[in-house]
Subunit: 153 residues, 2 copies
């Protein structure tokens, strides 16, 4: 049962496992985030800001692996929701600093039970989850290194 492996078979692709798992995560998050009025990428952005406030668009982009083409409209939506404020960095007028509003900060408390709900959905012992997360992070870094080597632009 080990060698009927077809490199062009969907089910045998690591990439598809990751692709479909990512979609599955957003499906699980959707009903949990709906009460907060957030989409999943918006939630990730809020996680970054709850960790460290007043970051530039660039810094947030590096953290999430997103560029301004994605972040600019996303941050404008968060601003419209009253969760963040945007202001030019006086030290460098090119940068836009994103700061949490009181409402944005308060949302952290409302979101605190979400990781627990996810833990249940994952349904696996913590050590396994930690190990899996680490393995996937290493994989991601290897892929990104390859992508940069191929076409750094």
């Amino acid at each position: 049962m080990a060698d009927d492996h077809d490199v062009q078979k969907l089910g045998d692709q690591l990439c598809f496992a990751v692709y479909s798992a990512a979609h599955a995560f957003t499906r699980v998050y959707k009903p949990l985030l709906a009460p907060l009025g957030l989409t999943y990428p918006q939630y990730l952005t809020m996680l970054v800001l709850w960790e460290r406030d007043d970051l530039s668009v660039k810094a947030i982009g590096e953290r999430l692996g997103l560029d301004s083409g994605t972040l600019t409209p996303l941050l404008k939506r968060l601003e419209k929701l009253g969760l963040v404020a945007r202001r030019r960095d006086p030290q460098d007028e090119r940068s836009v600093l994103i700061g949490l509003t009181a409402e944005g900060l308060a949302l952290k408390a409302k979101a605190k039970d979400i990781p627990l709900a996810l833990g249940c959905a994952i349904g696996r012992p913590w050590p396994d989850v930690i190990r899996l997360r680490q393995d996937i992070a290493v994989l991601r870094d290897a892929l990104n290194a390859t992508a940069e080597a191929a076409g750094p632009t």
Copy 2:
């Protein structure tokens, strides 16, 4: 070093590892697929069809975890590229069967080296990759089960 774990910290989230790994995959695939004129989701669709031809939109959707809102326009693009043909199922006029054209079938040969390139990009021994793929597939299935239990529509 084991218990400074913050459940609201981005780096500690399994979901973010998966999210960013999925993006990393598409970045690696992009230059490999560009010569074929395919996007990554289009490539996944072709993998499905290379495995089994003449599938309905519904069947492809179940395989990839996508709905008609995503697949209909994607398949129309593949049709415009001359890779697939769309025809109503005579047995059930509701269904649309997707069949490979000669060109679509021929593309399989042109794509055969892509998995090898990915293997290099992943940069890890095969048994590890197999195990990781399996772990992630199990995770995905658990998440999808939770999502369905929460809101089956």
